[in-house]
Every structure is written in C-alpha cells, then in structure tokens.
Amino acid sequence: MSTTIERNTSTVSEGHPEHPQRKWQDYFGFSTDHKVIGIQYLTTAFFFYFIGGALAEVMRTELSTPDPDLVQPEFYNQLLTMHGTIMLFLWIIPAGAAFANYLIPLMIGAEDMAFPRLNAVAFWMIPPGGILLMSSFFNGAPQAGWTSYPPLSLVSGKSGEEIWILSILILGTSSILGAINFVTTILLMRMPDMDIHSMPLFCWSMLATSGLILLGTPVLAAALILLSFDLIAGTAFFNPVGGGDPIVYQHMFWFYSHPAVYIMILPFFGAISEILPVHARKPIFGYRAIAYSSLAISFLGLIVWAHHMFSSGTPGWLRMFFMATTMIIAVPTGIKVFSWCATIWGGKLSLNSAFIFAVGFVASFLIGGLSGVMLAAVPFDIHVHDTYFIVAHFHYVLFGGSVFGLFAAVYHWFPKMSGRMVNETWGRIHFIMTFVGFNITFLPMHQLGLQGMNRRIALYDPQFQTLNTICTIGSYILALSTFPFIINIVWSLLKGEKATRNPWKALTLEWQTTSPPIIENFEEEPVLWAGPYDYGIDTESIDGDEDVEDMLAAITAEGS
C-alpha cells in the first residue's frame, strides 16, 4: 500500500533517475515489498540464531564435566529441546525463506511476488510463533526434544509441550503460505524471455523446497493435532496406555521432518550454485543435472523417512526399502557436489568471503553427507543410534552445510541488499574462526558416538571427558566467531564502501538493478542478454560486434 503511494510520487529528473528509498520504519511494519520482507526474515532469523546459539553454549559448558553441575538435568532437557526447535524452525527455515523472498522476484525479473500481502502475512506469523515458543521458558519449557516423541512428550510437562505444538503449527502455516508464493511466482512470473531452463538454479532449488513444504508440513500439522488431543483431551492416539501407538506419531512426524532436512539444505544448495560460478568466473558445470537433481532429492526425500526409525521396531523388509532409498539420495547429492567441484576446477578464483564460505560449505557438507550414507546402513545405524555420532552427522549437514551456505549467501548478496561492500579481511577472519571452531566442536563427536556416548543427556561417563572438553572449547571459538561477523556487518552498513550495481560482475538479473534495488526492482524491464552462468567466454565475441566484457563494463559504468 505504501508502495503505490511512493511509486506515484517518484520523480525522474533529467539524466539522473531519482527513486524513493526505503525508510527504516518500513522494515518494522506490514510491508508487502518482497525485499523488505526478505530483510525482515533474515534479521528475525539471526535474532533467533543468537538465542539458539546461547542455549547451545550453556549446554556445551554443562557438558565440559561429566556431572550435571551447572544446570539441573530437567533444565538441560529444556535447553536441548529449545536449541533444536529454534535452530530449525526459527533460524534455518526462515533464513532460507529470507533469500527466497529477496532473490526470486529479482532473479526472474518480476516486480514482486505473486501474492505480496500473503507474503507479508507469512512473515508476520514468525515473530508471534517465536515469542510464543520462548514464553514457554516462564512456564516450564518443553523437554521432549525437537522430535517430541510420545509417550515422553505426554508425560514431561503439559503446558510447555502444548506451547511447543502451537508455535510449530504457527511457524508451519507461515512456511506453507510462503511456499505457495514461491511456487506460483517461479512458475508463472518469469520475464517473457526466461524459460524454465534459463532461470537461475536458486529458483530451481526453491521450487524443490516449496514442493516439500507443501506436501510435508500439513502431515506434521496432522500429527501435532493428534498429539494435542492426547495431551489435553485424554485421547490415546499415541499413548500405549489407552491402546494407541507411538510409532504412528513417528511415521507422521518423520514424513515431514525428513523432507524438512532438505527444506533446510536445498535453498543453500541453490545459493552455492549461484555463488561458485560468479567467483570462479566459470559457467556452472551441468546446469540441468543440478536443476533436476534438486527435484530428484525432493522426490526421494519423501520416501526415506523411516530410516529415522530403524530401532523403533520397523520390520526387516521395510528397513531394506528405506535403507535403499536413503542410499540412492547420495546420487543426486553427489551429482551436485561433483558439479560444484567441476565448476571451480580451473576457474579464476577470487578467494573472497562469499567464495571461501561456499567452498567451506562443500567440504563440510561432504563429510555430513558421507556420514549420512553410513547411517543409512541398518546395522551401523542401530549401533550408533541416539549417540553423539548422530549429533556430529546432522551438525555437519546443518551447520557445516546450511549455515556455511547461509553465510556465503549473506556475504555474496550483502552488497545488493545494503548497497555497501563488506570488509573482506574481517569476513575471512570470520570464516577461519567458524571453520576451525566448527570442526573442533563436531569432529570429536563422531568418535564419542562410536564409543557409545548417548546424546540428549546432561551427565556422561567420565571416560568421555577429554573429547567433550575439546568440543566445548570448539564451541567457544564458534561463539567468538560471531563477533567478527557482527562487527563486520554493522561497520559495513554504516561505513562500508558504496557498492556498485554489479560488484561481482555477475550475470543473474538481480545484479542489473541498483544496489540496493529500487522499490519497483527495475527502472525498466530487465533484458536477458546472457544465460545466468555464461562466464568465462569473456574473450569470445558474440555476434562479432559486442563482447560480454564490454557489456559488463557498460553495466558497471551505468551503476557507478
């Protein structure tokens, strides 16, 4: 609504088009501009990241000694439940939605999302959901882990559990509304020249992500509604005492929550596919392979859920099926990893913050992916089930994967979002501290898991203390690594060098507009004069009269 008013008052003085700028107040209100909503998602996600991180630091401090001496075991259970829930539902998923909101319309040359108001509604469900979840701390936070398996979740504090259910329902609805927007926008609002095979890979990955959100999240909602009835009305859907079956909950829960793993990683697969070619100055290797492998991961992601339940009495033949499908997922994922490696192979690399985070992503995610294949094997899974090996595995995927990808995306698109460059030195310090801290924290956990240290328990056998101390030291390095990041971002926002419209000389459409983009995204209809990844053909001339280098120079000149 404010958009239309401001658009009408926009004035064009001769030679220098003036465009109304966003005011800071816009970022705190119900704005329907996808760029504002994207920033709102991102800052909200970071806010919860710091809370979730603080909870993790308390847990790691507690675990530096074998005895529960810092916090009570009950409080430790609350910490681990809240840490998991916040990091998944209030950090990674909204952060993916942040980039999707900000980038999709710009990348496909659209003015906004298909349903701007619905988009704003989707965002504004996140703060209430998050605050509701945090409020449970005053009333006995949930203690049953982010999985909330019954019957544990039915007997470990009613109010905290119900608050947890309600906030997940709110956040899930938000996620579904966002996905409706992404699908419609990507499929129907591309600029006329852009067919589906010339759109950036980030859009492909968001298409795959949205499909999973739309098909998976409602099933989680169904499971949580039934769990609520068990909790409050005294039914026995999942309560063995009344004839119910907790395994049914596990099936419904993982039908969403395994795809949710891909909901959390696919957006960053997409971001990496954008970042690597730009900073390696090479075309993406295997555009269609990467695009279709996202869809393949989505499809396979829907039929692997019971690999979380190998030790829940799943019959043998079913175990075999889920073991096979799980291992097959390594194929499309491997296609991506090889394509990324082939993309940067022999490229003209600029080792800036975005690029090194992207490479860090590929490396750490590879480790997480490989331990995932190990876990798919039933005998091995049963051996390490519910040990720190699992904790190591999913932190390599979610931190080493998603979070590294997220930081790469922040550094890559920061100039576009803020109109300022980041400080590369501080960015590199941030990367080194994060990478070192991350590996010191989570690498020893593989060993701990193989030795049989149980997860989700505040006390442990004294023989594990040395490795746990190392993990705790690593987690402190990780905590410290956020400071270079925060300082860098705040400093760059205030004093950073002004960014031109295309500081990376990238070819996707978001770089054709000003930094930050004007409210209506593009001054005039954007023009597709190259594919999204036609790098490295700079010296070849196109049609004999104008080459890409000249075009880029022209674009840069326009912007500065």
């Binding site: 609002m189 006329p192 169904a222 499971a223 009344g242």
Partner: protein
C-alpha cells in the same frame, strides 16, 4: 543478439500493456494459489487418513471391541446433501457467468443452507452417538476426522456468506470478475470430495 533484444523489448511492452489493467500489475494468479493451497490442505487429511489406516492394520480387532455399530442413516442423508450441494452451487456460478447476480445469490443461498443442514446432522450424530471422544481409538479417530472435516465445511459456509455479502454491492461480481465466487466453489467441491473419502474410510469399511 541485437535483433532479438529489440524483439523481446517490444514483446515486453505488449505484455506490460496487457497486464496494466490486471491485478497488481500482473495477471491474477489467485486461483492457482488456491489450488496449491488445496493440494497442501489435502495432505493434512491424507495424514489423518494414513493414521486411521495404520490403526486399522495394526490393532488386532478393528474397531476395538465394544464399539457400538455406527448409525448409517444420518451420514447417508448428509452425504447426499453435500454431494447435491456441489451441483446446486455450480448453478450459482453458471448464473453469474450469464451476469445473473440474483441467480447467484439464490443458488449460493441454498448451498449455504445445505451446508448448515449438513453441520446440523453432524451435531445430531455427535449428541446421539453411544461413544465419546476418549472411549477408544476408533471413537477418537471418528471425532477428530469428522470434526476436522466439519471445520472445513464451516469455513466453506462462511466463504459463501462472504460471497453473498459482497454480492449485495452491484457490480462487485460479474461474468468477468468472479474470483470470490469461483474460489468458494472450488473450496466447496474440495471439501465435498474429502467427505466422500472420509465417509468410505470411517463409516463403510469397518
């Protein structure tokens, strides 16, 4: 390259002209959005149905011993009311396509009444059932599934009321501006189809 650029620009200009008159500067995609939402919503029901089918498969006696026979008369009447209402509602939309707003109001009014009748039948069934929410697993499934569907019927009735309310304003709906009418109708058909599946799973295959 140059030629194609000019080409594309003229195409864009034409497209921009065409879309200027349309919703938010781009064609109206709200129906597509609704379809995507309904796909998602149907997954909620599929989740519930799957739970019911798993219980059927793993509980030794289904429905558990001591569950009274379900009375079928009212549900069958209810089913016919709901199925018939879909056709009634479609006549309303057809009337609007001929710019007959009075016809739209009449047929949609009847549909809302039929929806209300369905809900009344459901309430009657609840009050006269010989089991409560927590009697056993089947009873719980019965109430949660029919209740969740009932909420959808209620939403559908409210959507019809919204359409009727808006249609009082002359010219709000016409043969070429009928998103609200169409959306309410598609939603109603969706709820109708879900009921048919639910009726088979809950009432018939016990």
């Amino acid at each position: 390259m140059q030629g194609s650029t000019v080409d594309s620009q003229s195409q864009i200009a034409i497209a921009a002209e065409q879309s200027a008159a349309e919703h938010h500067g781009h064609p109206d995609y709200r129906m597509i959005g609704l379809y995507v939402f309904l796909v998602s919503d149907s997954m909620t029901f599929i989740g519930f149905f799957a739970a019911l089918l798993i219980y059927r498969a793993i509980v030794p006696v289904w429905p558990p011993e001591g569950t009274p026979e379900l009375e079928l008369l009212i549900p069958i009447i209810n089913t016919s009311i709901l199925v018939a209402s879909s056709f009634v509602m479609h006549r309303g939309q057809t009337a609007l396509k001929n710019n007959d707003v009075k016809g739209l109001q009449t047929w949609f009014g009847i549909t809302a009444a039929m929806g209300a009748l369905f809900l009344a039948g459901q309430a009657y069934e609840y009050f006269h059932a010989e089991f409560g929410l927590t009697t056993n697993l089947f009873a719980s499934c019965f109430y949660v599934l029919t209740g969740f569907h009932g909420l959808h019927v209620l939403t559908g009735v409210l959507l019809i009321f919204a359409v009727l309310w808006r249609s009082r304003q002359p010219g709000h709906y016409s043969s070429n501006s009928h998103f609200g009418v169409e959306a309410a109708e598609i939603y109603w058909h969706f709820v109708d189809v879900i009921w048919l599946v639910l009726f088979v799973l809950v009432y018939l295959i016990n």
